[in-house]
Amino acid sequence: MWHDRPLKDGYDVVIIGGGAHGLACAHYLAKEHGVTDVAVLDKSYIGSGGSGRNTAIVRSNYLTPEGVRFYDESVKLYEQLAAELEFNVMFSQRGHLTLAHTDGAVRTMRRRAEVNRLQGVDSRLVFPDELAHICPQLDLSEHPRYPIMAALYHPPGGIIRHDAVVWGFANHADRRGVHIHQQTEVTGVDVRDGKVRGVETSRGYVAAETVLNATAGWGSTIAAMAGLELPIATAPLQACVTEPLKPFLDVVVVSGSLHVYVSQSSRGELVMGASVDPFGSYSMNSSLDFVEGLAGHVLELFPFLSKVRILRQWAGLCEMPPDFSPLMGFTPVEGFLLDVGWGTYGFKASPICGKTMAELIATNTTPDLIYPFRLSRFAEFDLVGEKGAASVGH
């Protein structure tokens, strides 16, 4: 477990954001680079932000080669994270389906299947005859308004106990000397002649030559403290859960055109989500139209769920970049680093983000794996191709 430590007046590295990304970075800094004079600051409890609010889906079947390579590394790390952290993160690789309901979506799924295959990621296009075995609960008839035409089947995809990932990284980072400070809000970033010197917090000034902004939803507000504006817009992402049911749904089901996610947790609840809210906001209120729209689309896929009850709905914040890919690494302010812009796909990248950001901090060079996600790509007009898939499918 992690302990309450005294807040020193300076550290080598300060990580803003005690979620899975920030804690993973602290873990790998200590474990792989021996950098332990590290403080992870969170304004609330660890895992209170995006890490505690996502629908915990893990997959790597993206569109671009650089996207697929990156997320595939993350899945591989997740596969032995339980052993590495001595904490059962309950990574349940039960298969992941992305449904296509239009000919355009089928084309995009095949594009992703082919790119995945060429990157050695197990992911292929399946049609209703095979879908009937993979997920017999789906309504594969012609009856729905948007009949299911095909799906991208990705066996290594699945779900994970997201809080356990946060706690596992926190335990290990703490054990290696990293300081985890909860209820410690960063209120200012001290930048003098182009270099970061430290941060103002609700518990006083903390000096540091390296400050990593690893927040979800608050990337812009923290970056603004360092005088930077970023290419991201914050929007709420909602989810909900049903009453616990005897397990019947094994695979994770995502529908591109209907914008809905469904998976059954290890406790028997159906965990469901959709796309980001229709308008940008920092509010984490739930909305009725979210759960209404979601219910209609879930019943299109599984009509027999009409008497299953929603138990709770919640919301988190996410940041949407123009090319559906994160902002990682160096910024014009020396020492002020980014691991933000994670849209709706941040949690599944936590281990590999921690690992690559730790390497970047320790070696002061950008690892190849995350070079495509550099902030400067926008001014270089070299955006990541994930945008291509987004405009057509989801």
Partner: protein, 964 residues
């Protein structure tokens, strides 16, 4: 089943069952009787059944506890419906009710052995085990999953019929108890339109089953409601408050969505169980549950009852039981004094009264057999030896928690009132008011007065009346503060015995202690780690005790410890109700039925349904190439620009030039955004000096209209109007060598090349109907696109089909059109282009007029044109003619190390029946793409297929057929 002895009592005043009639239903395979008005729970209780279900983790037997639909203990399966709260579901004839989560049977549940091993399943058990060896984790996981969940989903359940209704009111009152009714009456009195919601079958709240009030007050309030301007919604649960006073409420299969300008929360209270050893045994009920059984259904909770209390409600209950002839083993009150009026009769009846005492444990294996009580010191800790009282029922009436979840989600801040040991909200957001027992009022008169004041304040907020004078508010506040305390905050310190804090998730006080010691010491971390309050009751039964326990263990105040976030819904709600009536819009053309009659196979195209083919797409292609075909392209986006400002607007929106286009002429155009990405393309015609008529792709029509309106309404709109004509014209494309001969039979206009050349538009009367006819051709054949006023669509289409009979006319669908356009090398925006494609790369470089002063995308296209696009969209042919690579396949370049580098992808690909070989479009690096004949390899099913670059149309490159 233990010997069930019926506990139905003789008729009770105010009971809501019809004793003259009898229904029957099955539970756990056995038939049970019931009266109409009985709930499943009341009928089973009347038959002496005590165990309803098995708990989630330890599979312990669970029976009725709250009687109000809050706790998980009475959840049952009713037919195909899981997780039904049997205390809220009325019995229907032949209902098939079954216990949940019990295997092999409710009585003998093997999994309850898990309960014996609780030493092996402490809090966070799952996280600390099953990590190694990781290969075995999937097998452990399967075992854990099989033990998970409560109810069973029946995959044959029909979707069912549900619907929704919007409601609008000035003041919404949530809760139809005495305070809610008086708030509604006061607001209506002031002229407000009032919506009054109550989840009971009738208004009255606990006046219906609590005997502390004479029945006259209930009847009197109900009469006044009838006459007032109040819309009453009973059997209606308010699920949630959402932004801008948007309330969701459910009644049966209907979801109400209500907006109110002010809201009064008269939501009452939730009775809080107290902690003691074995506190989850069947036969342990909350006092309010006993009073409901007694006074609504005429059912005794058992034969020998111990009442445990810390307020007047316990004594009222004892008096009720006494009056109903139920044997009282004892009444145990934490407080030292016993000044309650009922104490005299109880003592007279020989009922043992233990003051200054508390319940420390219950005994029994499958149900309660005895209560263990002991005296307590001033801070509530037991002193001296316990006393065992044999009984079969324990009624707990030691405290209440105001039901404020809705108000918390509405932004109310929770403040713990030490003197009352209950939560309150302070400040309450503007326009929202809380009243009655939810506001801490306990005596009936105080609840009615508090409601009246809240109703007045709500009406005053809407300036319908004056707010109540200050001294009236002060008088009320004083009255409320003098009320006798009704809630004990006593909580026993964890000492190793098993006291259930959370009934849904089987979390004990020992688990809470352990979790806090392991570092999960904030209420939110404690909740996520122990899963306390994450079950079906969402904290109604456990959050108060968890909070008190957490505060006691950490030695801080309840306010410092804080609450976890409240979230909707307040009551679990069907997906079916949330979905409501199925409303998925469908757009169809004016000749939709003709297509269906003709046997067309329809495809989804945005919101439209369009014919994909009529049985044989290849035959349709050949028929267009050799004879004449007709396709319905009605979904095409069609817009009109009017006014002298049109040319300027077009010059700025499109990458190509328009100013010089003469009347009657047509030109192809491409629209980009400022990133230089292709948004849409289409043809545009100048039909008059100041009237332009442009088309867009069908999928892009809606977005194109909004896009153009955006620029037009933000500075580029000088003297020009944009009108959506998409649905005004149905559009039919007559294509093929005989198309002119067919059309000539239906119009007098000269269709020859001199009078009506290619890329022209003419106002033409076809089959007696005035249409706009374009001489354009996506298929590459001589063709006329006829835009017909939609009301005459069928008339003109049928006339064309009839006129074309002698020429072999046949309809063709989207699939044939895709082959025909591909044979001409035409791209489709959205298929061959995506959100990364610019016109320079997408084979439209000829259209990019950088010399124009300004157009959307110019700055980005200038940058791209400096060193040219990295990738280009070009045609390709396969070395092995018959191989057709699926669209989406990747183009790869083998590396020395054998790896395959992805350098491009196939966007369009078909076998061309006209050319007898496969053709397509693909994205390639510019160096390869710019070289006609250059070869590259496509990765298909694990092997590499060679292909060659091809520029320009595959068929009739000179375009003679179009101009024939």
């Amino acid at each position: 089943m233990s010997d069930p002895t019926p506990t139905r009592l003789p008729e009770r005043p105010g009971e809501i069952i019809d004793r003259t009639r009898q229904v029957s239903f099955t539970f756990n395979g056995e038939i049970y009787p019931a009266h109409p008005g009985d709930t499943i729970a009341s009928a089973l209780s009347a038959a002496g059944v005590r165990t309803f279900s098995r708990s989630f983790k330890y599979h312990r037997p669970r029976g009725l506890l709250c009687g109000a639909g809050h706790c998980p203990n009475c959840l049952v399966q009713v037919g195909d419906e899981p997780n039904v709260r049997s205390c809220q579901r009325a019995v229907e004839q032949d209902m098939d009710v079954n216990p949940q989560n019990a295997w092999p049977s409710l009585d003998q549940d093997v999994m309850s052995l898990a309960g014996l091993g609780d030493r092996f399943m402490p809090v966070g058990f799952y996280y600390k085990t099953f990590m190694k060896p990781s290969q075995l984790w999937p097998h452990y996981e399967q075992a854990l999953r099989n033990a998970a969940g409560l109810g069973v989903v029946d995959q044959g359940t029909p979707w069912g019929a549900y619907d929704k209704q919007y409601l609008h009111g000035d003041v919404a009152v949530i809760g139809g108890g005495p305070s809610g009714i008086s708030a509604a009456l006061e607001a209506a009195e002031a002229g407000a339109n009032v919506l009054l919601f109550d989840n009971g079958p009738q208004l009255g709240g606990h006046l219906r089953w609590r005997s502390d009030s004479d029945d006259t007050s209930r009847k009197d309030l109900l009469e006044k409601v009838q006459s007032a301007r109040i819309e009453v919604y009973t059997d209606t649960d308010v699920l949630g408050w959402y932004q801008d006073n948007w309330l969701a409420a459910v009644r049966g299969d209907r979801l109400f969505k209500a907006r109110a300008k002010a809201i009064v929360f008269a939501t009452g209270t939730i009775e809080v169980p107290t902690l003691f050893d074995n506190n989850d045994l069947p036969g342990i009920l909350l006092g309010s549950a006993v009073q409901r059984l007694l006074n609504l259904y005429g059912v005794a909770p058992g034969r020998r009852v111990v009442v445990v209390t810390a307020n007047r409600h316990g004594w009222d209950l004892a008096a009720d039981l006494l009056a109903a002839g139920v044997e009282l083993a004892a009444i145990v009150d934490e407080r030292r004094t016993r000044d309650h009026p009922a104490s005299v009769d109880l003592a007279a009846a020989g009922v043992p009264i233990y003051n200054g005492s508390a319940l420390t444990g219950a005994r029994g294996r499958k149900a309660v057999s005895a209560a263990v009580i002991s005296e307590i010191d001033d801070s509530g800790n037991p002193i001296g030896p316990g006393r065992v009282l044999s009984c079969d029922t324990i009624a707990l009436s030691t405290g209440w928690e105001p039901a404020l979840d809705l108000l918390y989600t509405a932004g109310g801040k929770s403040v713990y009132q030490e003197n009352r040991a209950e939560m309150s909200v302070d400040p309450v957001p503007d326009g929202l008011y809380v009243a009655g027992s939810a506001n801490g009022a306990d005596l009936l008169q105080a609840r009615v007065e508090d409601g009246r004041v809240a109703g007045r304040l709500a009406a005053a907020h809407l300036e319908l009346t004056e707010p109540p004078p200050q001294q009236e508010l002060d008088k009320l506040a004083l009255e409320l503060s003098k009320e006798e305390r009704r809630t004990s905050d006593r909580i026993s310190a964890p000492d190793g015995k098993k006291r259930f804090v959370c009934f849904c998730e089987d979390v004990t006080d020992v688990d809470v202690d352990t979790a806090i010691a392991e570092g999960y010491d904030s209420v939110e971390l404690l909740k996520r780690y122990s899963t306390i309050s994450m079950g079906p009751c969402q904290g109604k039964m456990c959050s108060v005790n968890a909070l008190r326990l957490c505060s006691r263990i950490k030695g801080q105040s309840v306010q410092e410890t804080g609450r976890t976030t409240s979230r909707p819904p307040t009551t679990p709600v069907y997906l079916g109700v949330l979905a409501g009536q199925n409303m998925e819009p469908v757009q169809v053309s004016s000749i939709h039925d003709w297509h269906l009659d003709r046997g067309a196979s329809m495809m989804v195209a945005g919101l439209w349904l369009r014919p994909e083919h009529y049985g044989d797409a290849t035959a349709e292609v050949n028929n267009v190439r050799n004879r004449v075909g007709l396709i319905d392209v009605s979904p095409l986006g069609k817009f009109q620009l009017t006014g002298p400002g049109a040319p300027d607007l077009l010059e700025r929106l499109y990458i190509n030039q328009w100013r010089n286009l003469r009347k009657g002429r047509v030109r192809y155009g491409v629209m980009c955004n400022d990133e230089g990405v292709v948004l849409d393309d289409g043809v545009c015609a100048r039909v008059d000096d100041d009237t332009w008529y442009l088309s867009t792709t069908s999928t892009g029509a809606g977005t194109a209209f909004q896009w153009i309106q955006w620029w037009l309404q933000s500075g580029w709109g000088g003297n020009v109007h944009l009108t959506d004509m998409t649905e005004i014209y149905s559009a039919f494309n007559l294509a093929g060598p005989h198309s002119r001969e067919v059309l000539r039979k239906l119009t007098k206009r000269d269709l020859g090349n001199k009078a009506f050349p290619y890329m022209r538009i003419r106002r033409t009367r076809v089959a007696g109907v005035s249409c706009r006819v374009w001489r354009i051709g996506f298929t590459g054949e001589l063709s006329y696109e006829i835009h017909v006023p939609s009301s005459a669509g069928l008339h003109v289409w049928e006339a064309l089909m009839e006129a074309g009979g002698e020429f072999g006319i046949a309809p063709f669908g989207v699939e044939a059109q895709r082959v025909l356009r591909l044979e001409k090398g035409h791209l489709i925006v959205g298929q061959d282009t995506d959100a990364m494609s610019d016109p320079l790369g997408a084979d439209m470089a000829w259209a990019v007029k950088l010399e124009k002063p300004d157009f959307l995308g110019k700055r980005s296209l200038e940058r791209i044109s400096v060193d040219g696009p990295h990738q280009r969209l070009v045609g390709f042919e396969m070395t092995r003619k018959h191989i057709v690579p699926e669209e989406g396949l990747q183009i790869v370049k083998p590396q020395e190390n054998g790896k395959l580098n992805i350098i491009g992808w196939i966007s369009s690909s078909r076998f061309s029946p006209t050319l007898k070989k496969s053709i397509g479009l693909c994205w390639l690096p510019s160096d390869i793409g710019s070289e006609p004949g250059a070869t590259f390899t496509i990765y298909q099913d694990g092997r590499l297929e060679e292909a060659r670059v091809h520029h320009g149309p595959f068929f009739d490159p000179g375009g003679e057929r179009l101009k024939s």
